[in-house]
Amino acid sequence: MNATISDGAMVTALIAMLGGAIRVSTPFMFVALGECLTEKSGRINLGLEGSLVLGAMVAYAASYLTGSPWTGVLFAGCAGLVLGALHGFICKLPKVNDIAVGIAFMSFGTGLAFFFGKPYIQPQAPRLEAIHLGDWTGDPRLAQALEVNPLFFVGVGLALFMAWAFRNTRFGLIIRMTGDSAAAAKAMGVSVDLVRFIATAVGGFLAGIGGAFLSLYYPGSWNQGLSSGQGLMAVALVIFARWGPLRCILAALLFGAAGALGPSLQSVGISQGYYFFNAAPYILTLFIMVASARSKAAAREAPGELSITK
């Protein structure tokens, strides 16, 4: 470090990080909630990275063609839903390993997006509008940091709903049941395959929406390097959050803050170690994976049917 950082710069960096955390965390949040739902039903979908990228491309294309970014979001969700449903359907077949299928779907979704997405790299599509929460402060930095995309609130609301539904609805209890003991679910006449199929498909839908956020808000354009493994990191994030939807939000914010570290330090003129700070989310993922693999408390809360816990 060449200079002492003044207090003002520090505040700027922190505000930038807060805004960044909210921005960067949103796609994490959606993918993590989707993955959380799928894993709660006893299946892992590693293909959500593919759903995310395809969702991003479809959202951008649909927004460009229809002129409505929210239509794009809906289409992105549907693209994710289709991929998720395919994954769910293939995993229903006997002797299919969900992890292997997930990896295949990761490449499939990404490949599909690249193939159909070529024509949309150049044009400008209408983007999602942010809600300006900070204009009243009169501080332009705060105002900018507090421009929050409505999808962030949708995600938080969804997490609250999921946390409530897992305890208080029949379908929530049935999902937890299939995830923890397929034998018990079968003995009660629940179709385990159907429940997992639905959970995987809906999980894909959420991942697709996460993708829409990437291309329609931040970074806000469609290109092939758009996702940097958020879909995969979300899997680590769900383990870190111990399969709790509300903890998924906190974990996503933490990952988001880590992701915002590099850019916000750059915003106050610290560019040394820029690439290192940009790698923060990946380093965090690595540490979390190591720590949670050792954590016996996490092992206790893992759904019993998951193939990683068997």
């Binding site: 305890r167 208080n168 609805t169 029949r170 379908f171 209890l173 049935i174 937890r176 049941m177 995830g179 923890d180 003991s181 034998a183 018990a184 679910a185 003995a187 009660m188 006449g189 016996k296 408390a297 092992a299 206790r300 759904p303 019993g304």
Partner: protein, 513 residues
């Protein structure tokens, strides 16, 4: 279907059920041939038979898991058709399986509510709790409703399973070996309560069992199956145990039991001092186990499953790391590694041998050679393995230990449970044995195999081995052990010479008193 029996449950009558001419074949194999049983309303009926005798097939036909080729089930005199477990449920027929069907991560209350056919989409917990509390008021036993099922004891889980059937208003209950996970005290309490409910005409029970003691003390009638046929039935109160067991095993030749040889005072062989180990979730599984075993002595470790016995055996076998404590054999520290197993002549017969002591897809000969494949005559120069001596040795042991296999080259997973157990015994007992560690050696085996395997263990003792026998079958321990130890809460809470103790005292210690 109304699922909430909130009014006085005794007002509801127990149903009677008969199954007539039940036949079920799987390919050329007749699992069930023309079996009929009658269970009167309000009776406590026992279904006896060895493993593979067709008991499960019969109840699975009644429950709608299998569709019988022939046969008719009548409930309260009316013919009914049951095509799926759902149908059985709608008719008020419920079953408690040997393996719990509760969901571990849900609470007791959640398990009850979700088991209903008409669980509302959005559950109003305040209302459900009031209904559940009112239901529990009418029940002879309670379980904590807010506890996660994974935190309940086996006895509580079993009670919750039965409560679930009552909650669903299933008044014809099929119980599959319901006491196998309970302490003798818990088992007696539970069966006594069920017996009382039967007497009051609230429920009818059909219980699969092979514990004669329980059948004699609690049941009204019994039916016996052998090889898919009904071989007898009668009044459980008047029939003798000999009659029942003859109906169960037929004319099978049972090998003469090896008798306990009187041995002069032997030196101390195996000493366990303060052993501690953790379970997979990192909680203490065994805490400070101390035990000394002399040569020529069998120490039987009794206990309700899940009190650390498996962890103890795994620690001795090197499958689970010790967090504290020390094992010594003849005064030398023993760490469970392959080289040391050989040096100290430690052998073992773990529970579920197909999983814990064999590689299922390798051949019988290879599995039998696990202790000797790296030594002459099978191995030369320490690394070159020749098949011929391995096969010769396997053939010899297969003949001596009467392992029924199509060939020494058959994968060991194709053998029946008793024969897998014999093959492992052949491997472990054929040499000089100083220490033998045995866990649930007869679980799920037929009478002839049980007698055979117990004899082998006794013979090893008579040859001077120190034997640690961990078993959930108290009768087995009382038959074989010179001393009985009781394991409860991960530690040994009681130890006594077998002739100086009795079932009651042991049972009380198993329950943790």
């Amino acid at each position: 279907m109304s699922a909430l029996p909130l009014e006085t449950p005794s007002a509801k009558m127990a149903p009677s059920l008969s199954a007539h001419g039940m036949t079920k074949t799987f390919g050329a194999f007749t699992a069930l041939g023309d079996v009929s049983i009658d269970v009167a309303a309000g009776s406590f009926h026992a279904l006896l038979g060895e493993n593979g005798a067709g008991k499960s097939t019969l109840v699975k036909c009644i429950m709608g898991f299998y569709s019988p080729d022939k046969g008719q089930v009548t409930l309260d005199g009316k013919a009914i058709s049951i095509r799926s477990p759902r149908d059985a449920r709608a008719h008020g027929i419920g079953m408690v399986y040997q393996h719990f069907t509760l969901v571990p991560c849900l609470t007791a209350a959640e398990n009850l509510v979700i088991s209903r056919a008409d669980t509302p989409s959005v559950i109003n917990w305040a209302k459900e709790r009031r209904a559940l509390d009112a239901f529990m008021e009418t029940m002879p036993f309670r379980v904590p409703l807010d506890a996660q099922v994974s935190a309940l004891s086996a006895g509580e889980k079993q009670k919750l399973e039965i409560l679930k059937l009552l909650y669903l208003d299933q008044r014809f209950m099929i119980l599959d070996e319901p006491t196998s996970v309970l302490t003798p005290g818990e088992a007696d309490e539970m069966l006594g309560l069920l017996h009382g409910m039967c007497d009051r005409g609230e429920i009818t029970v059909l219980m699969i069992s092979h514990k004669f003691r329980e059948v004699k003390s609690f049941c009204d009638r019994f039916s016996v199956l052998r090889r898919g046929r009904l071989t007898g039935e009668g009044d459980a109160k008047t029939a003798s145990v000999e009659e029942m067991s003859r109906m169960m095993i037929g004319d099978t030749q049972v090998r003469e039991r090896a008798t306990r040889a009187a041995l002069p005072e032997q030196p101390m062989v195996l000493e366990l001092a303060g052993l501690c180990a953790e379970d997979d979730a990192g909680l203490p599984a065994i805490q400070g186990v101390n035990l000394k075993i002399r040569g020529g002595e069998i120490v039987g470790v009794a206990g309700v499953s899940g009190n650390g016995q498996s962890a103890l055996v795994e620690a001795l076998a090197g499958q689970r790391p010790l967090t504290d404590g020390e094992m010594t054999i003849r005064g030398e520290v023993f760490t469970p590694k392959r080289g040391n197993f050989d040096r100290f002549r430690v052998f073992g017969l773990p529970e579920e041998p197909l999983k814990n002591a064999t590689v299922p897809r390798m051949s019988v000969a290879e599995n039998i050679a696990f202790r000797s494949f790296d030594k002459p005559p099978i191995a030369s120069l320490g690394w070159w393995m020749s098949k011929a001596p391995m096969r010769a040795k396997a053939e010899d042991l297969i003949a001596r230990y009467r392992v029924k296999t199509t060939s020494p080259d058959a994968p060991i997973e194709t053998l029946s449970g008793g024969n897998v157990q014999r093959a492992v015994l052949a491997r472990e007992l054929s040499g000089d044995v100083d220490v033998l560690i045995v866990a649930n050696p007869c679980f799920g085996l037929d009478f002839a195999s049980v007698a055979d395997i117990r004899s082998q263990i006794m013979e090893a003792r008579n040859r001077g081995a120190a034997v640690l026998l961990v078993s959930e079958d108290l009768d087995e321990i009382l038959e074989l052990a010179d001393r009985v130890a009781v394991m409860s809460g991960g530690t040994i809470t009681y130890i006594a010479a077998t002739e100086a103790t009795d079932r009651n005292t042991i049972g009380q210690h198993m329950a943790g008193h």
